[in-house]
């Protein structure tokens, strides 16, 4: 009897705290959404969204941020996948050190990173602020650092889920060289992990403000801030668009991981 009562109490509190958490997270978003739809007095409509979508500066910022995000993902994956693979294979004891290094972007404020980058690369020997192309390179380097904790952890979890050493040795015993081992065996088995890291990377770069603002590049983050200085409804609409992008990324991640799980559950044991 006591056990049933205790279970009922637990389930009541689970629901209570669950609802409270949902309200805490979703009420502000609902408020923003509601506000963004009330640009025209007395009616709910998408006027603020239409204004944003009609603004060429939005599309310029969007295109720029998407391009930066895609390049950041490619560079991050190209750096982290072989590095983490090599670490697992040759120096697994270096993993705690790598973990500390990759967590640094969480510890060091973005503003310090930006000032460090600007001070270091605005003077010889490697001056990267003299042209937009070079500044973009600097931006990507900064984005790679900012997204490092996500990419590292995603790939690290993927590596831990497969027996890297034995798969490598099996491929080698069948005649594979390092390139083939990576391309045919390791990367295909890390697909989901790399995708996860990439989507989080994408969301991070799309919402990044400080780096783009200080390096004066036309990304989506600075556009959002500038819009907020002079307008009321449009920034709210932009915030909802930004949220939607992030959720879309996370939704994709969820879709691919659950699909992979479903496939694995079709195990036939004979």
């Amino acid at each position: 009897m006591d056990e049933i009562m205790s279970r009922k109490r637990t389930s009541f509190f689970t629901i209570f705290w669950g609802i409270l958490a949902l309200l805490y997270f979703f009420l502000p978003i609902y408020g923003t959404l509601d506000f963004s739809l009330r640009m025209e007095r007395g009616i709910l409509g998408f006027k603020a969204y239409k204004i944003i979508f009609a603004d060429p500066r939005f599309w310029e910022g969007f295109r720029y941020s998407v391009t930066m995000a895609v390049i950041t993902i490619i560079v991050s994956a190209a750096i982290f996948v072989p590095t983490i693979y090599w670490m697992y294979l040759k120096v697994p004891q270096a993993r705690p050190i790598m973990e500390i290094i990759t967590i640094l972007p969480f510890v060091i404020p973005g503003i310090i990173l930006v000032f460090g980058l600007i001070r270091t690369f605005s003077r010889p020997p490697l001056q990267l602020t003299t042209s937009t192309f070079k500044t973009d390179i600097l931006m990507i380097a900064g984005y790679v650092i900012i997204s490092m904790p996500y990419m590292f952890r995603a790939v690290d979890v993927g590596m831990r889920s497969i027996d890297v050493r034995t798969l490598t040795e099996a491929a080698q015993s069948l005649g594979s060289n390092w390139f083939h081992v990576l391309a045919d065996v390791i990367i295909p088995n890390l697909r989901l992990a790399i995708l996860g890291g990439s989507l989080i990377c994408f969301a991070t770069v799309m919402g990044e403000l400080i780096l783009a603002d200080f390096l004066v590049r036309p990304a989506l983050g600075p556009y959002m801030v500038r819009l907020g200085l002079t307008k009321a409804y449009e920034p709210a609409a932009l915030a909802i668009i930004s949220y939607s992008l992030t959720w879309f990324s996370l939704g994709l991640l969820q879709f691919f991981s659950s699909r992979s799980e479903r496939q694995k559950q079709q195990v036939i044991t004979t």
Binding site: I162, T166, S173, L174, G175, V185, N189, V267
Partner: protein, 353 residues
Amino acid sequence: MTHLELTHIHKSFGASVAVEDFNLTVKQGEFVSFLGPSGCGKTTTLRMVAGFELPTSGNVTLNGKDLTYVPPNKRNVGMVFQSYALFPNMTVAQNVGYGLKIAGKSKNEIEERVREMLSLIQMDKFYSRYPYQLSGGQQQRVALARALAIQPELLLLDEPLSALDAKIRFELRQEIRRIQQKLGITTIYVTHDQEEALSLSDRIVVMSQGKIEQVGNPFEIYNFPQTRFVAKFVGSLNTVTATVVDPAKGIASFDGINLEIAQGLNGKNKGEEVTIAIRPERFNFLAEQRKENVFDCTIENITFLGSVVRVQMKIGNSIFNMDTFNRPSLKLPNIGGKEQVTCSNKAVLVLAG
């Protein structure tokens, strides 16, 4: 004809010696097992043959070619791992054909060979399945087919059955031997399971602490162990320390009881201590007139082990085990009862080391 030759192989990891002065020649088509407990260096030796470890010194020669410093992907040596190591992203057919694809074979050639291999392991129907859709035994058979598909000069198996349950292990053991004999491929098999090594191998290399203890065929290893380690590790064994009484006649004594030894005690001095070993199945209850090696004993315990009954008995002050076949007509003594047991003087071994 010598196919594989390991000469003075030595491997150290820092201060710890994993393999010490390992010498072995393996003939074409021979099935050789490395048998020993965990940490005895058997897998390290196998990995040096595969090219995954470099020997600290010594040479690995295959078909007259020195492979010591040849990378693993250039050795043409097939390997089967304990954890199957099938590529999860590939189907059974893609796994089996992977080595051929890397070797640049044509699609038709790969297809034909894959079908041939799947037929060899009787898994034709599993062509399009993924590894996660297979049981452990099936995965290991695919791993075997994958290793054989590239027509390697040498097949290495690193405890391939350890992760499987007893019934599958037994079936797959027969399968491995059948395929090996059919293809006539030289095979090195690493195991810590004496039954596997005894039932599969042409020759067994028993290893302990990085060194070879004994090399011989299963019959020699079981019946004539040369060292105390081999005797204890392969099969169960009764050992007792005895004192040499008459070296010429091969008589030693323990707890005041004389024991005749057919192999003699040549080279031993009277009064010297020797280790005597007798396999449990070599004891019998006395049912005939025998003059040598008849012992009075007290029955201490009786254990049923299925097809075998193990009788624990005390001879003098020493405890011995006797194994006898379990048949319905078997009359077992009472625990605590006095009996007489015997063993042939040929069953008594004198151990070195």
